[in-house]
Symmetry: C2
Subunit: 273 residues, 2 copies
């Protein structure tokens, strides 16, 4: 039995979606069709959204589930009229917050969401550019500016982690590959010696690494189990010998890897989302 | 009067943080100190968290605000004992969802969050790699595989938008710069002709563009107001003449730009967060 869940907002819908997905993930027995409807900011769009909700409810023979962060009263009432269980995120929590803080929220007074500030936009773009410029050991002369330098073997997750750290936290993250040639006599590369306090290692289960590498270069030596086991052995020994903190990326999402790195390093975020 | 808000989770804390920040942004009159405590997954960590909450409450002379998505009962009770207004995200919404869906949630039965699936991890990494490989017109031979190709002048936001589309939605986004040399006789570049149905334009307020470019290359011709006005004039005329859909990135966050592009193009997401 499939149910349809809607995430509806007059903005990007990211809050409704993030919360809604977290809640739905607590119901593993049920399969959900998910529909995000961002920028529902007019009466006309609200009627269209309500029509879609009603159509989904009719199709499945059960009310839809609606997670929303709509502020405008006219739009809310239209969405409310549709055949759905409504999870009214702002409605539920703003009243106790108003009571505690002893001020009215802009929800109550009817204004809309805030937008990104210019300073956080620039911090984020700077960090993304830094990650791109300093990807895969391309340069090392900006390492003085880096908040962190990720090291690890090829395909252990360095690049996406650097980009996520930049995008989500505004952290300037460089990364440097520990390559095949270095493997038999693995030391901290000379260009990193000066920045060893910024190093953070990634590791990964060798079988998983081989699977990932095989998608890129099937049946190569690079992707062989033997090679992957060898490389991972060597880097993990290096991390331990040199006291480089490290984390396994196996079975972790990029969010998890990045958040755990933030916790372990106690790096301070440069931006708030 | 500064209040301290905590975002607490046994996972990454992203849900608590996203929802909490949305709610707090409705109270513009109050300044909040924000603390995220992820991976609070043991009684010991819970006691440390409670101590931090109590210290913050004592310092400001007012209870702290706690947004949490803790599942484990023992841990919850420790957090609950601290001096704070508790916004219990799962507690508030899972009961009505359970009633509607007529099953118990894993919250109620005490198991923990789900992790990223392998297929969504791979879709995301593939999309991020695609964005990196196809950044700034570096290659054009993979454009057949692209879901979308962003075009725009230098520093109009193409790269971060492509990366966000990849990271958040698993969308394969290439980008191609409309460069200064082409400006006086601006046409769709030959290498893009075949893919014109995939093109999506970015534009930006020329004054804002000049400010951004000045941070990179101060007082250059490239960053001059005259040049920025000229380039933006030319690209906007091109978009209109060639019926390329486009969006202004001025004063928009990367999330907003990306979400609006998803709405306009009706691209289907390749992953769900």
């Amino acid at each position: 039995m499939k149910r349809t869940a809607f995430f509806i907002s007059d903005g990007t819908g990211i809050t409704a979606e993030t919360l809604g997905n977290s809640l739905l993930s607590q119901f593993k027995a049920i399969e959900f069709e998910r529909v995000t409807l961002p920028y529902i900011d007019s009466v006309e769009k609200a009627h269209n959204a309500a029509d879609r909700i009603n159509a989904a409810a009719e199709k499945s023979g059960k009310p839809a589930i609606v997670f929303d962060t709509i502020v405008n009263g006219d739009i809310r009432r239209i969405i409310d009229s549709a055949n759905a269980l409504k999870i009214d995120i702002f409605g539920a929590f703003l009243a106790p917050l108003e009571a505690e803080l002893q001020v009215e929220s802009s929800y109550s007074v009817g204004t809309s969401h805030s937008s990104a500030t210019s300073s956080s936009y620039i911090a984020r773009i700077d960090a993304v550019n830094f990650a791109l410029d300093n990807d895969d050991g391309a340069r090392t002369r900006q390492y003085a500016e880096a908040d962190i330098i990720l090291v690890g073997v090829s395909r252990s997750g360095k690049t996406p982690t650097c980009l996520y750290l930049a995008m989500q936290f505004g952290i300037k993250a460089a990364n440097y590959p520990l390559t095949e040639e270095d493997m038999d006599d693995l030391k901290i590369p000379v260009s990193l010696e000066k920045y060893r306090h910024k190093l953070f290692g990634l590791t990964i289960d060798p079988d998983r690494l081989a699977a990932i590498r095989n998608e890129r270069r099937a049946n190569s030596r690079y992707a062989s189990l033997k090679q992957c086991y060898h490389e991972i052995d060597e880097v993990e020994m290096l991390y331990q010998r040199e006291n480089i903190p490290f984390i396994s990326t196996t079975d972790k999402s990029i969010e998890e890897i990045s958040t755990r790195i933030m916790v372990e390093t106690q790096l301070e975020r440069r931006l708030r989302n």
